[in-house]
């Protein structure tokens, strides 16, 4: 299994385009996943009976094969990027929802009581006290969800999308390892870089955690 370096040299443009498209799908999914998870997590955190249901549901969704989700979405959103993003979003929920709930749980009751005693309204407490304090745990979830999504995007190659995943089906059909190797390496690289950037983002967003050496 040799790498045809001249193919890589000739296809830097394509590889860049596919990488950008790949990253766009993954990041859109994580962003949407967060948008959905935040309110649901608040509900799960506040209303105990719903907690098991919501977390259980996200767990069950996670057990459905991703390729099946993409195919089942075809009548809804067709052969489009939308299908890819919805499918990926569903998979981010298992991590994002659980971590956000756990993050909210980790906020000490005393802190919340203090905010209440100072007359802070519930919504304001949520936005200015609870969510910031939950941020490290939420960010841990965002990192896992991002890396996972970047790895999963390629499954959408079976419905004609999939970013770098297109290199896998192409290499497969033509018995040509070079595009496949390039695709795997670039996927790992994207995941690595995205993860590093998220670590940096978390560092910037949570200055109060630094003194403790976290």
């Amino acid at each position: 299994m040799t790498i045809d370096w001249s193919w890589i040299a000739d296809h830097t443009d394509d590889l860049t385009t596919l990488s950008v498209s790949h990253l766009q799908a993954a990041l859109s999914a994580v962003f949407l996943g967060l948008l959905i998870s935040l309110p649901l997590a608040v509900i799960a955190h506040r209303i105990r009976p719903l907690r098991g249901f919501l977390l259980g549901l996200s767990n069950v969704l996670f057990t459905i094969p991703s390729i099946a989700i993409f195919v089942l979405l075809l009548p809804v959103s067709g052969l489009t990027r939308t299908t890819t993003v919805i499918g990926l979003t569903i998979y981010t929920l298992v991590v994002l929802l659980r971590n956000t709930v756990e993050g909210l749980d980790s906020v000490p009751a005393k802190t919340k009581e203090a905010a209440k005693a100072m007359g802070t309204r519930p919504l304001r407490t949520l936005l200015t006290v609870e969510l910031p304090l939950a941020l490290p745990v939420i960010m841990a979830g965002v990192r896992i969800a991002t890396v996972m999504s970047i790895s999963l995007v390629s499954v959408a190659t079976y419905i004609g999308d999939g970013g770098l995943g297109q290199l896998f089906t192409d290499g497969f059909q033509r018995n040509f390892p070079t595009p496949v190797i390039a695709g795997v390496v670039l996927t790992l690289l994207l995941a690595l870089v995205a993860d590093a950037l998220l670590v940096a983002l978390q560092y910037v967003l949570t200055p109060w955690t630094r003194k403790r050496g976290a």
Binding site: S21, R81, G160, F172
Partner: protein, 310 residues
Amino acid sequence: MNRRALLGGLFAAASVPALSACSSGITSLQGEGTVGAGPGSSKDGITIGTANFTENQVLGYLYAAVLEAAGVKTTVRPNLGTREILIPALKGGDIDLLPEYQGALLHYVAPKSKATEEGEMQNALTVALPAGLQVLPYGMAEDSDAFVVTRETAEKYGLTSLADLTKQNGKLVIGAAAEVKTREVGAVGLKDVYGIEFKEFKSLDSSGPLVKGALKKGDVDVANLFTTDTDIQANGWVVLTDPKNLIPGQHVVPLIADRKADAPVRKALAKLGNVLTTKDLTELNRQVDKDKKDPEDVANAYAKRHGLTK
């Protein structure tokens, strides 16, 4: 606004870094159900969809080359899947144009059709296609389905034609792409027309590495391949003859949404159809599969060499 449009809008709006490199959520805004609901005429550009095998991608890029030369902007979406996936996508407006094969397409839209001659099939297609879709004149090049056995298998069972397979009913394994199991030009027709029953149908791929690998290894006895696949000759495989004409003529034919089928498009594609021969197409496939050239490069070089583009 229907459900799909709502979802499409929601997700398109939410996809923040909307760089939209290969495909976009925009097409899903067009809604479902209305056939060929995509935007405008060919002046707004044409999205060419292609199926999941080499030749269809070569054809897609050939279409793109000649259309670009005629001043039409094109986008090629390679490797979208099977006809069963592509035609609904064409109806929904996700794609506008598709390289098709006469007989197979006719069987898809009109399974009961008895037409076998090219002109008849073209007429039958015109009648049977859903409103909003049409076929343009078919080209010279042809790529049929073939049912193939290794020389050893042919000698062992004395096989030369599909009819001979009935003598081995219930004993042989057939390998083909999954969709062939439910297609008339496939397991269904082999049973109805010839009375052939296989021991097992193995879902593999469209004249790709799986089905050819399985035939070589002996995992399958009969394989469904394309006549334009150079591996048939290279391996000395035997194509079973079709005395009952189950397999229709498979001239390459453009399937297009009505609103995109204006004069420049028709002219450009007709010109290509009259130049491209079966031999040419076979050679282009070989360059992609064996020489590992890009389908796009191979198509562009061909179009240029034959004066279809400048």
